[in-house]
Symmetry: C2
Subunit: 199 residues, 2 copies
């Protein structure tokens, strides 16, 4: 803490709320900011305020957006029958960057984790059910990481959708495209062997 300037001391304290910013980094960051041109620093502060005020989850798909409903839910050029279920808004950015998917999204907000006490009501399963009642979806793509929590979530949703007469798919698992087999872990290799396909 910096006893000669309360405002600098407070800034340092606030910056420590950021992820992986400890006391020393917060001090460095505070000094960096205080030495920048005033208009640049004020622009940063303003962008924080604007984002926290304007950017909210879409009431239909829960994508973080400045408009409600979001631009994807209201885009008439997108396929309305394919729904891509993801963990977070960030996954949507990743998928959109491939230009491969032109349907709708639904953001779960989290993955099931019995260990951390995250159950179906913490991950928008009820909201997903409502979405599927309101919209005519024929295929649900579970674009969820094949991690422990991801697999749990994928199997839970697949089970829950079983009787709803929809095609349920998930992203392909295997050796990362373009990578070297030598550096692939045993679990990935085993999975890739089991999922081998004709050339």
């Amino acid at each position: 803490m910096y006893k000669f300037s309360e405002s600098l001391s407070e800034l340092q304290k606030q910056l420590q709320l950021l992820p992986s910013i400890g006391e020393k980094s917060a001090q460095r960051l505070a000094y960096f900011l205080i030495n920048q041109p005033k208009d640049k620093v004020l622009a940063l502060a303003e962008s924080i305020v604007t984002a926290i005020n304007n950017c909210k989850p879409c009431s239909q798909c829960f994508l973080l957006s400045d408009t409600d409903p979001c631009k994807i839910c209201t885009d008439p050029d997108r396929n309305e029958e394919t729904l891509c279920v993801v963990e977070s808004t960030r996954d949507i950015i990743l998928i959109e960057s491939t230009n491969e998917f032109k349907g709708r999204y639904f953001v779960l907000g989290n993955l099931l984790s019995p260990v951390s006490g995250i159950g179906p009501h913490q991950i928008r399963i009820p909201e997903l059910e409502k979405y599927l009642q309101k919209n005519h979806i024929t295929e649900v793509i579970l674009a969820i990481s094949p991690s422990t929590e991801g697999e749990t979530t994928i199997h839970f949703i697949a089970e829950f959708l079983k009787e709803k007469d929809k095609k349920i798919t998930r992203l392909s698992t295997g050796i990362p495209y373009g990578s070297d087999m030598e550096y692939t872990g045993a679990a990935t290799l085993m999975n890739a062997l089991r999922r081998r396909y004709p050339v």
Copy 2:
């Protein structure tokens, strides 16, 4: 860039101005902020605005401070005849944390670096001269790092103060106190041998 929320996209762009924050880190940080409680995020933004508005260099010693003159320049309990010359406000925090020095400070703002074009006028040498004219200083401690730029600065200031009839000192150099000699570099060891002192 995030095309579904202009405010999030702008926040990400602004966060990239921070040191060692690239595009990916800025995205992570933006999502982190947007998912925090609103009052916490607004408090952070406010602390940035308050600091950049209130925290300014003291007009006497150039310490970053909310008051002018700063609390050190106006502290009657501090020795007025010993001046500690440092590179930055952060060095003052370090020195203050030792509780070893009870005099006044002067912040140069930078170190001489002919390679980067930083000359005496970029590092408050004229301001230091004015300070010494106004105040009765008997000892000037050059508390500056023994780096290339630091050594250049130390020798420049020592030369410039030569005829002013003041005691000029610098911080001791040698093997870091409490460390293992085995891990000391050759330059440090050579310096320590030359500066050996009676036990």
